[in-house]
Symmetry: C2
Subunit: 364 residues, 2 copies
């Protein structure tokens, strides 16, 4: 399944794997896809630096990418402490009461952490600076077009820039601003997502832009890879598929792992409770609590994530798979056992090949 984009990026299969785990990203790259490391979890740029050094040394010289979370417009921001002052007391109290009601204990003394700062513009910019000292072939931005100078900076290093889009007009605007690859993020996708489903969105974006498009949302088997290429994508962007692989080792709580393995495709919800922007998450007692009468509306990004970050840590520390905060797409219904990355890749490729052979037969 070599598309033009494979040639351009030097990869064997147009399977892009977004993951916060460098072990998973490296394993995908070694297996011929493109592992894309999510940088948002690195509050400290030097940690990202070390991690990318590890990637450089553990990908058999094969290409990889880095994913950042950077708004095009530079928002007002201060230090973590200033932002925290903007969070209403009612919201803090709602979170506390909800955790109490759901039986989530406080963190052990001294284990509270500050929120994820990767949502901040300055942090995301430090991720780009650090990444470009390594050898990524792609920088992807989860929030659309990055600022112009970031695109120029990437291009000066020969690195392509991808941006997620949930609507054809956004995709066209990204391309007009210099983005090289569009990730068409369908409704069914995990994390930040819009309302148009992949079946409709992918060809709309393909028709609206003259750059390669990757289909994202709902892709977890070879039939879905073939369907995405049929829709005109030059590759697939996958995420949820890699949350339950053997190599995933971010100290994810056992409760989250169990929740992911048992979830069906009906067990997700699109909600603003994780970051302040609509994102698809596992649906459970925590997300349901925010939909009950009397619950406050989630705060805008980046306040919401600061509001709930301690709650996320507390839930991860507890042991209840029905009370976790975890982005996941509808495809999570297909990941019911832990497998090594190489096996997942091999299954995607062989089912893709069977599918195209079947289509050829139907065509007659």
């Amino acid at each position: 399944m070599r598309t033009e984009l494979c040639e351009r990026l030097g990869i064997e299969y147009p399977i892009f794997a977004f993951t916060p785990s460098e072990k998973v990203a490296a394993a995908v790259s070694r297996a011929g896809g493109l592992g894309v490391l999510g940088a948002v979890r690195f509050n400290d740029a030097s940690e990202l630096d070390e991690t990318l050094t590890w990637m450089d040394e553990n990908t058999d010289g094969k290409p990889y990418g880095v994913d950042i979370v950077m708004p095009m417009k530079i928002p007002t921001e201060g230090k973590s402490v200033d932002l925290k002052a903007m969070i209403p007391e009612d919201h803090i109290s709602f979170v506390e009461q909800t955790l109490l009601k759901l039986g989530v204990p406080p963190l052990p003394e001294g284990e509270g952490r500050e929120g994820v700062l990767g949502w901040l513009h300055s942090t995301a910019r430090s991720h780009v600076d650090v990444a470009l000292n390594h050898r990524p072939v792609l920088i992807a931005n989860a929030l659309g077009t990055p600022p112009n100078d970031v695109i120029e900076q990437a291009h000066e290093h020969g690195v392509l820039v991808a941006a997620l889009a949930g609507a054809a007009k956004h995709a066209a605007s990204h391309v007009a601003n210099g983005v090289d690859i569009i990730v068409s993020q369908g409704y069914e996708a995990g994390g930040h997502t819009g309302e148009i489903a992949s079946m409709v969105l992918t060809p709309e974006i393909v028709d609206a832009v003259d750059v390669p498009v990757l289909a994202a949302g709902g892709i977890g088997c070879g039939r879905q890879v073939a369907a995405s290429l049929a829709l005109g994508a030059q590759g697939v962007w996958t995420g949820s598929l890699w949350l339950t692989v053997e190599e995933y080792d971010l100290g994810q709580s056992d409760a989250i792992q169990r929740a992911l393995l048992k979830a069906s495709s009906a067990d997700t919800v699109r909600s603003r409770v994780y970051t302040g922007k609509p994102a698809r998450l596992l649906k459970n007692k925590w997300t349901n609590a925010w939909e009950e009468e009397g619950a406050p509306a989630p705060l805008p990004m980046p306040l919401q994530n600061l509001l709930v970050s301690d709650a996320h840590n507390r839930m991860s520390n507890a042991d209840d798979p029905d009370v976790v905060a975890m982005p996941a797409g509808q495809i999570i219904g297909r990941t019911n056992e832990v497998k090594p990355v190489a096996q997942v890749m091999a299954e995607l490729i062989s089912e893709y090949e069977e599918t195209v052979a079947r289509l050829e037969k139907i065509r007659g």
Copy 2:
């Protein structure tokens, strides 16, 4: 693109076209697909009888289908007048006030009609009785498994039974109850629909049942037909695509036609305001009014449709494309001009063939 199901039904292409217009249904059948006439609009079974006689005579002897709306369980029902007594005054008042606010005039004297009775079990049953006196090859039920004796009745006439499903477990239950074909209705589809998008739902249903599956939701071009077959479907079930064809002649108001032609894929919403069950509709001032603070929750089926049926007539009679009540899927963004059925069919087929040729080339 002949699949096994084509052989079984005696059709050339596995393109199923659900439409309330017999002219459109007949034209699709003549062009080698399967036109499926929606029966729900026929309050009087003798009208359906006449219409199917017309279909028998105007399909060049080619097969066609009939679509009914019948719950498996026989609900409590009375005559139209009894049901109307169950509608709360507040709801009636909200509808009246909303129409006033949106500038929708009352109907001319004497033009009020009773609501659509096709939602009633007894009416749907009369549709089946009438249909089986003609020569349909398929009876499809929009509400899942029809009652056992209806399935038996169809089978005795050599007619296959299809049922819509929005979840794999519902599909499995339909098949266990004797249904022959599953229509996998994705989130992006027009009319009654669930939350799982086509990309995820179609292969889930294909894996869950051992009967042919038709992919529905988001299909309006040949790439989407190819993608659906890649996902494992034996054909596609299309609906919105046929609302703007030249042959459509149900006296649909010009405002609805203009609304359909100008709508983008973002201009639909999944709402209970049309029938009481979640259905995807054009999003406009009417659907927005039901989402405002203070708006009542829609009533259960069949009460909601009775509540709003006069409102539907009034909106159709007015001339504002931003105030219409019209089921449509996200694919409506692709229907921007009026074309004859034969042209739509030819375009679907040729783009499908180009797509499979492109996939073969990528496969190398």
